[in-house]
Symmetry: D2
Subunit: 346 residues, 4 copies
Amino acid sequence: MVVILKKDTNKEQLHQFSEEMGALGLEAHVIVGQAHTIVGLVGDTSHIEIDRLRDMDIVESVQRIQEPFKKANRRFREEDTVITLDNGTKIGGGNFHVIAGPCSVESEEQIVGVAQAVKAAGATLLRGGVFKPRTSPYAFQGLHAKGMRYLLAAKEATGLPIVTEIMDAAHLPLFEEVDVIQVGARNMQNFELLKHLGQVNKPILLKRGLANTLQELLMSAEYIMASGNERVILCERGIRTFETYTRNTLDLSAVPVLKRLSHLPVIVDPSHATGDAGLVRPMALAATAAGADGLIIEVHNDPAHALCDGSQSLTPDAFGRLMAMVSAIRPYAEKYGAPGEGGTAQ
Amino acid sequence: MVVILKKDTNKEQLHQFSEEMGALGLEAHVIVGQAHTIVGLVGDTSHIEIDRLRDMDIVESVQRIQEPFKKANRRFREEDTVITLDNGTKIGGGNFHVIAGPCSVESEEQIVGVAQAVKAAGATLLRGGVFKPRTSPYAFQGLHAKGMRYLLAAKEATGLPIVTEIMDAAHLPLFEEVDVIQVGARNMQNFELLKHLGQVNKPILLKRGLANTLQELLMSAEYIMASGNERVILCERGIRTFETYTRNTLDLSAVPVLKRLSHLPVIVDPSHATGDAGLVRPMALAATAAGADGLIIEVHNDPAHALCDGSQSLTPDAFGRLMAMVSAIRPYAEKYGAPGEGGTAQ
Amino acid sequence: MVVILKKDTNKEQLHQFSEEMGALGLEAHVIVGQAHTIVGLVGDTSHIEIDRLRDMDIVESVQRIQEPFKKANRRFREEDTVITLDNGTKIGGGNFHVIAGPCSVESEEQIVGVAQAVKAAGATLLRGGVFKPRTSPYAFQGLHAKGMRYLLAAKEATGLPIVTEIMDAAHLPLFEEVDVIQVGARNMQNFELLKHLGQVNKPILLKRGLANTLQELLMSAEYIMASGNERVILCERGIRTFETYTRNTLDLSAVPVLKRLSHLPVIVDPSHATGDAGLVRPMALAATAAGADGLIIEVHNDPAHALCDGSQSLTPDAFGRLMAMVSAIRPYAEKYGAPGEGGTAQ
Amino acid sequence: MVVILKKDTNKEQLHQFSEEMGALGLEAHVIVGQAHTIVGLVGDTSHIEIDRLRDMDIVESVQRIQEPFKKANRRFREEDTVITLDNGTKIGGGNFHVIAGPCSVESEEQIVGVAQAVKAAGATLLRGGVFKPRTSPYAFQGLHAKGMRYLLAAKEATGLPIVTEIMDAAHLPLFEEVDVIQVGARNMQNFELLKHLGQVNKPILLKRGLANTLQELLMSAEYIMASGNERVILCERGIRTFETYTRNTLDLSAVPVLKRLSHLPVIVDPSHATGDAGLVRPMALAATAAGADGLIIEVHNDPAHALCDGSQSLTPDAFGRLMAMVSAIRPYAEKYGAPGEGGTAQ
């Protein structure tokens, strides 16, 4: 950690600062420059709150050298995390999975039908929302317990593990047979929810918030991991920018950056990022080529009558064609590891 | 509502579309252009989900003319909402209040001391966090129940109504004697929390999320109001942009825009927006001049040793000088109402 | 074009408005709603300035249905534009090209050496800056005329057509033997420069500005085309967002969106977008998979001693490996055309 | 300057690095930490290109402590720059000026009429565009030489100094009698234009680009100053964000930040920032309260028929009321100087 002190810092203040740092187990090395004093702090700084340093009168700025996350950090665990589901499905570590299904579970027929179709096309997990975060209180909010029942029927019918979103820890009892619990973008920094999920024995699919940096995404993963659950899957799903043609801006650099910084699996959601069925396939191919560990794609049997997000949903047929193209590209995708090239070891 | 249909829409499809709209209680007026067909939908469209229309095969785009919020909408309630607290304090409708206090409640002495100091300087509400949303799981998270006890002691000692943040509806029992419950920026779209707060008989101070539009802020207010609690105070606290010198970019246009669109009170938080004590006063003066109904300002007895956000906290002395300047400007601030000038009636 | 009138618009005003529109060759179709009046304008609206309508007293809002660009618009020209260079190289229309070379031309040896290396690896055009836009007036600004001489020597030595950036129309005489003239992101809305380049008989590589929408990029292409030069290549190179880990955020959705809206070739620059050599290859693969018509990649013989942007430059060896991977992916990339799938015909 | 070296840097590399820094006149002080080596560089680093350091193999990151601008830097010149126009008008240093006038000069009658009206209301400079940067090549681009003649007629009629925008250095001969030359947001990083304006003996009003940081704005001022012209006026006019209700997001924190970092005058343009006449006055009052040195406001005799930007223009009457309110607030505005409070000396 590097601390820059203000130019009028006197010797006594400097001495006192060094003492305080010593009390925290850190050695303070001082370099006196022309206009500033630079202090290098040597030792384990991961427990230091950077804001506490910034708040000191004599401090002008502070630069952290170590990343503030530990359990999610590739520096402390080189090999990829591999997450194994109950049916043996392995996520991460070179495996590639496509999670597919409708935005919302609407009926048993619908979800079982879509599940069978996406399984036939090669999807290995089923998604479907039963609790839906909607901007408007007047919009359809999901079928809740009834929807969960339909989703479980689809799991039973197809054997596909299921992924569905949680919005409130109080709903956890309904998630007992869910295979992967999703935290949506709007709840990425709902820290109380993250802490609850840290005590659950299920993998968590954590979506990046619309205005959150990659470091913040990793800090939210750290919340879950620090609370005891190390099975976190990261998901890039687009961020907010000034561009209005697409609903969000899919930040595919997130894939190599997250793989460089962390050992956790990284998947991409091109459906929510673009909000436009015609853009899903090119972005799915791009994410695959960039080396993502998987995709999450909205598929609906009848997009024109979907209860939500139909305009970004593919038909099962179109999804089948997408899967064929994704499978063709996957063998040639970026593989991480080569220093300075694949992004990992840089 | 205006719907643009694709150019290859045929008569039969158009007829069927008109029928479907009729079933929803809307008259469809059709204008056939060179390349597109325009349909104007006449009737009450507030219950129509715009995405459902967008998802139809023949639809190219949809434009809502009415805003999608009702209870928060000035169109349906012209006079300002005035919120009265238990001690008679009135917020909104031409009243002006400064809420002040530390980021975190740290001890009884601290919070009582700050409360007395800010009251002496003219603050009329006390703020202080006991549940703290922190990016890092390793950072200080607040004193929780103990902090609430200290905060209530400060309320008792000074008579100031208190404002403090909630992060989980499960904590509501601790908030019984709180005067105004704050929803932080990260929870602005925690819809489950909003619904719970809609059933609470206390004013809610709702902060704008870092990546949320003003319309989304009003939709989140609508969640609370639609659930039964119409006492919502809106708060602008900075948004995320590419500028890195300030922590966030304070969007002061939010003040006249929100006052134009809504009857709810609007306050501004220059402390969190800038993250820099030296910028708080000019931004507080600017917010006052723009016609905000109040401010929320961080004040700490000893910023250099604050447990959080010290670098943006003012000392009680500096806060006193700020209050004097704010009071001097307030009589000359924007007053809303004149068509096309104050922003309301435009 | 759809115009929404304010609710207090009276009959006389409406009549006068219809007359004014008639004078512009447009038929005004009026739909009277509950709170608003909707007017559909039928006829050729491409010459109408939308701001002029917005400025009218009775107008609340205006929505354009037709895009405001014509020459760049795929609606008016379905087949891809193919640009043929003097040496027969064809850009667009299913051809794929990689433009490679150093940020700056530094010496004759350097540029000739890099040119030979990138040609050997499969690059088909050479890039190299001789006029460099730099944030600081104290930074290296390029070798100007001397650099151009070296660049032409590299063209002669290898036969590679050359691409280099122009910053001022007054420098055009130096560009006589340049094959493709590049307009940098900072000059994307330097309209006077664009108008000059519209009178030049050379292809223009137009980079998207850091804060410009895709529609604005197409409007800038339209400036060049409307001035007489229809040979424009569009280039996505990252936009400004709040994310700080990468220099910019590469917006790969730009590829399918631009291909849908326009017939012009679209290439991608992962080097400037990421600013990080370790991220260039995964992003190059992603851009290829998404269906870009080409890439522009920074390659330097000695990145650690480059006069600019070394940290994002690949060595010739690393570039060779990238080319092999790009070539492997290209056959499986998105091909545009299928309605609703490839993004074009949606 | 602080340089962080990669953890595998060996002694020999470290020695060579120190030698290279020595050759640049800098002393390298080395601190060896657990995972990194920190090097503090002591000496005058203002001539060091930070990118050159970043490009070195052994370097992980570099942090500049000194700002990269010198002539614009308040650290090297404490007192405010005061710019005196030919008629004696002084800008900066506690003076306050309102520049007003139409977006475009449309006719002699129009501009003389508006000039008389804004002068009567208290404006001390006249603005009016004769070269207009427009997104569309088909939009009105200004009256050019003829417009300049009309503008000069208005100057003669009223005695008001005139401010107008330049888009191409080749047009400079037309600007001989212009008092202040404006560089628009889109040209803020048109470095060739800035260099030309550095050789002109007239004050330059430099607008912040839509995606430019405050540091980049100061670097562009530095371009003009380093080329010989130290009379630069900075102008905040809104930045691009995800918010769509306003045209841009006015970043008023720019006022105290720029006054802290620089001695140059800072003015604010609420008309272009908001794009909405109803928001201009509250934002003008806010900018005044924040301590801006002036405002630039669009005023049009007949906004509904303006050739551009009518929807953001005030009538002369509304402008008169704005001026009265601005004048009332100005005496109570932020004055810079008190350490930690006004933002300057922090």
